[in-house]
């Protein structure tokens, strides 16, 4: 099962597959101890958060998500992640009360977001960059006696093999036609 963990990829380092803790790094040079399940940086308040959610829920052992460092200016990605766990998303797929510029979760189902909110407890260390404080939070949550959250949840499984789909044979895009010389026209005109 462990080979199925973290199917969405991204900029992270996987450590202990049975670890209870994941760490999100914001504007910070910090390496967590290898007892954590996974750690990595977060940049954007939409696609970045989606990757974290999809990856974290793929490993049911992860129950705590430490968010530490200085939030990203403008994007406010860390605060938006905290808001997602706390409030979820509205009918427009916007993270409720998120302060980021474009805090929309468009590529995950409500079920996946619900799973994230139920499985994960956020440890909000926004604004904290001190190694000692973060190490302590990692340790305190790692030793907590808490069970894994059921089975892994795979939000989207990346296709394991090369596949070919030639159903769509339109050149470049459905809206335009390009003739043999390179002249572009809107299709149907």
């Amino acid at each position: 099962m462990k080979e199925d963990y973290y199917p969405w990829g991204g900029e992270f380092t996987a450590c202990s597959p049975d670890g209870r803790v994941a760490v999100v790094l914001l504007n910070i040079e910090y390496t967590p101890p290898n007892t954590v399940a996974i750690y990595g940086s977060l940049k954007t308040e939409n696609i970045g958060i989606e990757k974290i959610v999809a990856n974290v829920i793929s490993n049911p052992h992860i129950r705590y998500l430490i968010v530490c460092g200085d939030d990203i200016r403008g994007h406010r990605s860390g605060s938006s992640l905290v808001a997602l766990q706390k409030n979820g998303i509205d009918e427009q797929n916007k993270i409720i009360d998120a302060p980021g510029a474009i805090p929309y979760i468009e590529n995950l189902t409500m079920e996946a977001i619900g799973r994230f909110r139920n499985q994960i407890e956020i440890v909000d260390l926004l604004g904290i960059k001190d190694k000692g404080s973060i190490d302590k939070a990692v340790h305190d949550n790692t030793v907590k006696s808490v069970l894994p959250y059921g089975e892994p949840y795979i939000a989207i499984r990346i296709k394991p093999k090369t596949t070919v789909n030639l159903d769509d044979k339109r050149a470049l895009h459905s809206k335009i036609v390009i003739n043999y010389m390179g002249k572009v026209e809107k299709r149907g005109e």
Partner: protein
């Protein structure tokens, strides 16, 4: 190499032309400054002068893209614009924080710099305060980033331009026009590896044929975010610079090419591509290059 049926707009800011049919005007190149750490104005001036020199030698117009991360940098960076940039040199300001955006616009107005300003950028995260500031202090030109968090395909990019993809009340094109912005560039939003990055290139001819507006992107973003390239570190700059030729090849008008320090590689690389394109488009479509086009410097 393409030619478009839709009439292509040619926009001008301080004598720099951007847009038109492929092969007509050279690709406009935006070099980024002040993206990392504390601004170093001495080094920035050297890089800027080097980029402007490359621009003269190749024929590709250069636009310094000035990143303003914090409010405390606004005064210094706008002073830099006044002090160092040639009088008629357009520039773009690249700001993420919505509050800082408002302050920057106020400052550019006070310093009478809005006529040379390309506002980078308007996107679906636009705030009410930003709209108000843009109405009051309207820049000469603005870049709309066609980022649609739900659909990164060319259709998704068109959706945010047309109707805001349910994220904004109306489409980004109408928002910009309602704010009084008359000159609009479209950035097709190149994201990170794995996020349908090819769509940022494929969307260029689609958007140009749909709207006739100058179109380009920062394909550099993809290279910058690649972890895979860490295994080929010595090739990173070459990959970064050469990825920009895709923009010109697909009919694009501008490239936001990342750090200004890469200008030495980017300018000749893109100029060379512009020459190849011009040779074809003149022969087949009868598009003669502008008098400052890189191809004019070949002979």
């Amino acid at each position: 190499m393409f030619s478009f049926t839709k009439e292509q707009e040619i926009l001008e800011i301080s004598d720099t032309k951007i847009g038109g049919q492929p092969g007509m005007y050279p690709t406009v190149l935006f070099g980024g400054m002040f993206f990392k750490g504390e601004p170093d104005y001495e080094t920035a001036e050297k890089y800027l002068n080097n980029m402007l020199d490359l621009s003269k030698r190749t024929g590709n117009p250069a636009i310094p893209d000035l990143f303003i991360r914090k409010e405390e940098y606004i005064e210094e960076i706008t002073n830099f614009i006044e002090r160092v940039l040639p009088e008629n040199q357009p520039f773009s300001i690249d700001v993420t924080d919505p509050q800082v955006k408002v302050r920057v616009l106020e400052c550019l107005h006070e310093k009478n710099l809005l006529s040379r300003t390309i506002y980078n950028s308007i996107h679906v995260g636009i705030t009410d305060e930003e709209r108000e500031a843009l109405t009051k202090y309207t820049p000469e030109m603005a870049i709309i980033v066609a980022f649609n968090p739900k659909d990164k395909s060319p259709d998704g990019k068109i959706e945010v331009l047309e109707n805001g993809a349910h994220i904004t009340d109306i489409g980004l094109l109408d928002i910009s026009k309602n704010l009084g912005i008359k000159k609009i560039l479209i950035d097709t939003a190149a994201l990170a590896p794995g996020d349908n990055t090819g769509a940022a290139i494929a969307a260029i001819p689609v958007i140009k044929e749909e709207y006739g507006l100058p179109t380009g992107c920062a394909i550099h973003n993809v290279v910058e975010k690649s972890k895979w390239l860490n295994d080929f570190e010595s090739a990173r700059k070459t990959v970064d610079a050469s990825s920009n030729v895709n923009i010109s090849l697909f009919g694009g008008d501008f490239a936001i090419f990342g750090p200004i320090g890469n200008a030495d590689i980017v300018f000749p690389t893109v100029a060379w591509q512009d020459i190849l394109i011009s040779e074809y488009t003149e022969n087949y479509f009868g598009i003669s290059p502008d008098e400052y086009h890189p191809r004019r410097k070949l002979f």
